[in-house]
């Protein structure tokens, strides 16, 4: 089971959208809830939780090194280049 942490400024609004969209897109590609799990948080709380996850997706820009790979998930809000971002997630998690 791969664990994904989705974060935005407050941990309420845009992370909810990004998480839902990513979940949907991964399911479409055959990676359902048996293979990936999701949690949400706010950017200020990200550092303290990062170690427990395989991948972090943020809607806001995040450049700190927290020891866990970080992918920008703005595409899940705008729809632009979303497939490309889903590819990045799949390869970062070594899903197959």
């Amino acid at each position: 089971m791969k664990k994904i942490l989705v974060a935005c400024g407050s941990g309420i609004a845009t992370s909810t959208v990004a998480r839902n969209k990513l979940e949907e897109e991964l399911k479409k590609r055959g990676f359902g809830s048996d293979k990936v799990s999701f949690s949400q948080t706010s950017i200020p709380q990200l550092r303290s939780q990062a170690n427990d996850y395989d991948l972090i997706v943020t809607t806001a820009k995040y450049t700190e090194d927290v020891g866990t790979p970080v992918i920008n998930g703005l595409a899940f809000l705008t729809g632009i280049n979303m497939d490309n971002t889903v590819d990045q997630v799949i390869s970062a998690l070594h899903l197959q």
């Binding site: 400024g9 845009t14 703005l74 809000l77 705008t78 729809g79």
Partner: protein, 155 residues
Amino acid sequence: MEIIHKNLVFPNKKFKNDHDALSFLALEVENAGYARSTYKDAVLAREKIFPTGLPTGKINVAIPHADSEHVITSTLAVMTLKEPVDFHNMGEPKSTLPVSIVIMMAIAEPKGQLSMLQKIMGIVQDSQHLKQLMKYTTAEELFADLNQIFQEVHI
């Protein structure tokens, strides 16, 4: 409870910068009774740290909001701008983008706003609809259009 209200949609507004645009709309939300008197400052402060301009194509959208402690009842406040106003980019906070539509979210209940958020993103990703929204000159027209989208969203 409805999420979109005739007194909180504003077509064709003009502002000289994002601070003025955000202040106007946040104050309207406060004055209409949906948010506490701390809401405007919270929106402005949040926008500085986590900007909300979205690069959606020709017509860019900003989705400013604040933590739910500043909100009394969930609502949206929407305005279209006669001239685009520069907002900072959510994905690249150092750069700005010209924004033509502002969808301000006041979320009282942190969990369970998914359907509202999904509708907003549906609008944001639909360039034809954004173009249509820019054409309205009266609050009635803008409200009627948005009400179609959000009518099944109740909070």
